[in-house]
Symmetry: C2
Subunit: 346 residues, 2 copies
């Protein structure tokens, strides 16, 4: 834990700007007086791309390396072809900084709306692999645009990459009261990658005799997410399955407005990056309707990562308390940020 | 519509045997007297594999070609390494018989339990591609079992394969009252396959001016499946996304016990194959607890495919009526089959 934080801020597109402003407000409010917070904003995203054609120039990638952490709002705009900013900026950062742990906690807070009848007791965390799988950009297309086109996408998986994320997930499971870890894959169809994941999962498991394990195919896992989400404690899974499952998890725990995430490089070789799971929601940008809570909870994950555990907990408790008192009355993005800043400062 | 049906039956593993027996019972009851039903049972699945090491020998594959259709129970058993029967039997059939339409209707029947609060009005059909994508078995592993292992899975997509399933989905959407078609993919990350899908989807759409279309990333689609499933009418998607989404769809519409499917080759070059979406459920095999309704609804899809529309509707109506009268009292697999057979005969 340092006495200064040198933070990179990438507000990005759409509501990204608005929610990041609230995240910074709460971060400033929660930090002890003697911790010096420096921030540098990076102008990256759709506007930059329209202006200069750049997504993430080398100079900025280099500059980003020297921060303690990155706070990101959201990336993506309908005016930019799908994939340009996602691959050229967001995924480029995750890959360049080797964010192999994509951490996504899911918790059904009191008093929040879930689409599930019976309000099950949900409190699990998905450890999503962040640097491999179908996300590598490996693939191509031949005779593009013709009736004879062939397009491939290659999921690349290495024992090196799988073991490190699986080990991290065991560590997390081992430190939680229920000590339960579920591997999600599809090893009855994706036999090469799936068997490698399962073998490594079983092998590393021998070092964690106190952790109870199970395995689910991804299709079956989605069933349990809606019928029995309380069965999950820690889930470890591949990049694409993790993407799908964490949106579903967000939906059943009260919506994407509350889902936080961390793209973590636990080695510290590069800065980790924290962002809400939601996208840029261009349809509500500028209306004050965006819920900044997911970003604020991402700030909590950021603080925890930098060693400010007490401050992280203060934010999480503030969110719990704030949600418990919400009565359905509309509060603007700003108002929610103010309320949470007041709570953590108090 | 022929006056005889020459049906291949593959009961398979676990509850497969039990549910297929009920499917045949209802099929016999619903068919007009003058339609001659011939069935041949194929002994394929876990037991066969243990006995002979075979999953689907050439002679049987050849024999299966000469049937009008195939009714399959379920494939898979924990005593067989994951993937052996799935790849060697189930997927082998889907690929050999070019089942490019994997049709999976989802409907929330009256009086059935859904995990969703508010019981939304769900009635959509997923048209899942069945012969490409990450299911091709293309991939491999290098230095298997060592710390330097690399495992790949290649998603193969062709304009030929995508266009035919997309066209089928437009036809289905066009013939339904709401005329709405949603493409689900992940074209912001899987840019090669995703853009090809989207381009073909847009191009074919020009021939169906009355069909309203939209596009969703697969992660976002899972959110709508639980928060707003009534927004969907027809969904077209890739093999893997379709696998995941249809289990989730089954869960929100009252469970995997009711979800039917057809692996269809609309050209008629090879027999189509009908099966419940659920697996072999070895934990309840032999207990009489398996719900045969999914298989019986798959028989309805089979009849529709062979031109017996009135009989298909009779089965679907019988299931609706039966579900409406279920009061939670336990009924065995056999009892449900008997009840439905009586209704369709009546
Ligand atoms: C925007 C997109 C590239 C991204 C992903 O697929 O990882 C998003 O869905 C997420 O989950 O962070
Ligand atoms: C058993 C398995 C190979 C199969 C699939 O993945 O297609 C099943 O999950 C299904 O949905 O029919």
């Amino acid at each position: 834990m340092s006495t200064s934080i040198n933070l990179a801020v990438i507000p990005g597109d759409g509501i990204g700007q608005e929610v990041v402003a609230q995240g910074l407000k709460v971060l400033t409010a929660v930090l002890p007086q003697d911790v010096k917070l420096e921030t540098r904003q990076y102008d990256l995203g759709a506007q930059r791309w329209h202006r200069t054609g750049e997504t993430l120039p080398d100079a900025e990638l280099e500059a980003l390396k020297h921060h303690d952490a990155i706070l990101l709002g959201a990336i993506g705009d309908p005016s930019v072809p799908s994939g340009v900013l996602e691959r050229g900026l967001l995924l480029k950062l995750r890959f360049a900084f080797d964010h192999f742990i994509n951490l996504r906690p899911s918790k059904l807070f009191p008093n929040t709306a879930t689409p599930l009848a019976g309000r099950p007791d949900i409190d699990f965390v998905v450890v999503r692999e962040g640097t491999e799988g179908p996300y590598t950009g490996n693939g191509g297309s031949l005779r593009t645009g013709t009736p004879a086109e062939v397009a491939t996408e290659v999921s690349v998986n290495t024992a090196y990459g799988v073991e490190r994320v699986v080990r991290d997930a065991y560590e997390r499971a081992n430190s939680r009261p229920r000590k339960k870890l579920t591997l999600v894959h599809k090893n009855n169809v994706l036999v090469y990658a799936g068997h490698m994941w399962k073998n490594i999962f079983d092998k590393v498991g021998q070092e964690y005799p106190e952790v109870t394990t199970d395995y689910l195919h991804v299709d079956a896992a989605t069933i349990f997410f809606v019928t029995q989400p309380e069965r999950f404690d820690v889930i470890v899974t591949d990049n694409l399955f993790g993407d799908i499952l964490t949106d579903l998890a967000a939906a059943v725990t009260g919506g994407i407005g509350l889902a936080a995430s961390g793209n973590i490089n636990p080695t510290g070789a590069f800065p980790s990056m924290f962002e809400p799971v939601h996208g840029s929601a261009p349809d509500i940008a500028g209306t004050g309707k965006a819920d900044p809570t997911a970003t604020i909870l991402s700030v909590a994950l950021l603080l925890r990562h930098l060693g400010y555990e007490a401050e992280a907990v203060r934010i999480e408790d503030a969110v719990s308390a704030d949600l418990a008192e919400r009565d359905g009355t509309f509060r603007s993005t700003d108002a929610i940020g103010d309320a949470l800043a007041a709570r953590v400062a108090g």
